[in-house]
């Protein structure tokens, strides 16, 4: 296994049967929280074919099936590249990040552990994290690469993926500008919360609250 792609098998259960948040009432059959309804409904609506498609492709990749790897690349390459490009603002570097992510999957398909959630979402986070590493010219970080995603959204389907992307874009546009800026600085520019506070002149607590509020707004909007 490659350095930086070390797998820590914690939290896998969370993605198979999503665990509630700390401050969220536990779901129970017949009386589920809106969030779990959203996730389950998305999963039920599309996970079937498309999600199975990702898993099937990945299992073929494990058998050195180049065509399966190329199919995964065709499915998610543009998305991964776009995320990296947003961070790096350099087509050459963004392609390097994108190529490296897919090549690592080819060499080590187990770096994505089934059950961690949607492969597309996982790749999107990987692209962001790798691009930030490149931006900061540092070695790939290990711990945050062991991402477990409680988001079994159907990203393998291009139609649903595009629909979700459009919805996210709209939600992000509608956020208060301070929240947008905080998320931009932290997520796309890789600044620490202290750096953001120093740059914006806002207290540290305010920076944290803005980022949390932005994500909560996004989550709620997508769930509805």
């Amino acid at each position: 296994m490659q350095p930086g792609w070390r797998s820590i098998e914690y939290g896998l259960a969370a993605t198979n049967s999503r665990a509630p948040l700390m401050n969220e009432p536990p779901s129970n059959p017949g009386n589920e929280s809106p969030r779990s309804i959203y996730r389950d409904s998305v999963h039920a609506a599309g996970a079937g074919d498309a999600q199975a498609g990702d898993e099937l492709l990945l299992s073929r990749v494990k058998g050195n099936d180049q065509q399966a790897m190329t199919d995964l690349f065709d499915r998610y390459g543009s998305m991964v590249y776009s995320v990296a490009l947003r961070v790096l603002n350099d087509p050459g570097q963004a392609e390097d990040v994108m190529q490296e992510i897919f090549f690592q999957i080819w060499r080590n398909p187990d770096s994505f552990v089934q059950g961690r959630g949607s492969m597309g979402a996982w790749l999107a986070v990987m692209a962001r994290n790798r691009a930030i590493d490149a931006l900061r010219r540092r070695k790939p970080t290990e711990s945050v690469d062991d991402v477990v995603l409680a988001s079994p959204t159907n990203l393998a389907s291009e139609i649903e993926r595009n629909s979700l992307m459009e919805k996210v874009r709209q939600v992000m546009k509608d956020l208060p500008s301070e929240q947008q800026n905080s998320v931009k600085l932290a997520f796309f520019e890789g600044l620490t919360h202290s750096e953001i506070a120093a740059r914006t002149g806002d207290p540290l607590g305010t920076v944290k609250t803005r980022i949390r509020s932005a994500l909560m707004s996004l989550r709620k909007a997508i769930e509805t």
Partner: protein, 273 residues
């Protein structure tokens, strides 16, 4: 940062975005290994962050990116399979005593070995060729880069002298200096940078009398290879003040009167030279 038994949601968000300091990151990581609720919360946060990532504007892949990836995994696959083949060949030769019944297996193994060796040989040759080509390209690029750097250094050096060059005169203009003593009729002419003449032509020196009389021929001359020529004490009448001197080009035997144009001319200074 931590409050109570669990990590605040805000800090998990920052952790997922790698936006905590090193110390804070280490503390969160340590806690996560022991705390499932926080791991679950982190998983939810990561899902939210994936949404943020998915909200970026989509761009098509750069031209050729797909092919580059396909080539890369093909090369990696080829190298891996060759390695596996090599490993399997090594495993065949166990060093155990061979039995007659299994002799054909040895032949097959040998044949397989040969095929593999040939295949490997071809592969190595191809890779060597590729390596040689890449090395040449790299060396060429390095040389070009080095030269470009030198050019830049010269152009931008503060101590560099900047000089404007223009076209020089095609040829120096012919000149002549005359020294004349009217009382004795003595004349000496030294000319330089004269053009060479055809065989049937010659330069002729003239004294232009101050009294307005016709120019007096003062000698024929031709320049040497360097364009220099001189006339020393030609036969001239005595006591003829001169107003000026001139040089013309005449036919080889000379002329009684000057033929225009006058190539060189110089007036006698009123107070002498």
């Amino acid at each position: 940062m931590m409050q109570g038994a669990h990590i605040p949601h805000e800090d998990l968000i920052l952790y997922a975005m790698q936006a905590l300091s090193e110390g804070e990151t280490a503390a969160v990581r340590l806690h996560l290994e022991e705390c499932k609720p926080c791991r679950d919360d982190l998983a939810a946060v990561s899902g939210d962050l994936a949404l943020v990532a998915l909200g970026v504007d989509q761009h098509p892949l750069p031209e050729g990116a797909r092919q580059r990836f396909v080539d890369r995994i093909s090369t990696a696959t080829s190298a891996t399979s060759q390695s596996e083949k090599k490993a399997s060949v090594v495993a065949i030769d166990t060093g155990r005593p061979r039995r007659k019944a299994a002799l054909w297996i040895s032949w097959l193994a040998t044949a397989a070995l040969l095929v593999t060796a040939i295949s490997l040989g071809l592969q190595v040759r191809s890779l060597n060729e590729e390596l040689r080509r890449k090395s040449e390209e790299a060396a060429k690029q390095e040389a070009e880069s080095s030269r470009a750097k030198q050019v830049l250094e010269v152009l931008t050096a503060p101590s560099a002298k900047r000089v404007l060059l223009t076209a020089s005169k095609a040829k120096p203009a012919p000149t002549a200096r005359a020294v004349y003593l009217a009382e004795s009729g003595g004349l000496i002419l030294q000319a330089n940078d004269l053009e060479q003449l055809a065989q049937d032509k010659t330069y002729e020196l003239w004294v232009i009398p101050a009294n307005g009389q016709a120019p007096i021929p003062a000698g024929l001359f031709r320049p040497d290879a360097a364009g220099s020529a001189s006339v020393v004490l030609p036969p001239l009448p005595k006591g003829v003040p001169a107003k000026a001197f001139g040089v013309t080009i005449e036919k080889a035997e000379g002329s009684a009167t000057p033929t225009a144009p006058i190539l060189l001319a110089g007036a006698v200074p009123t107070s002498g030279e």
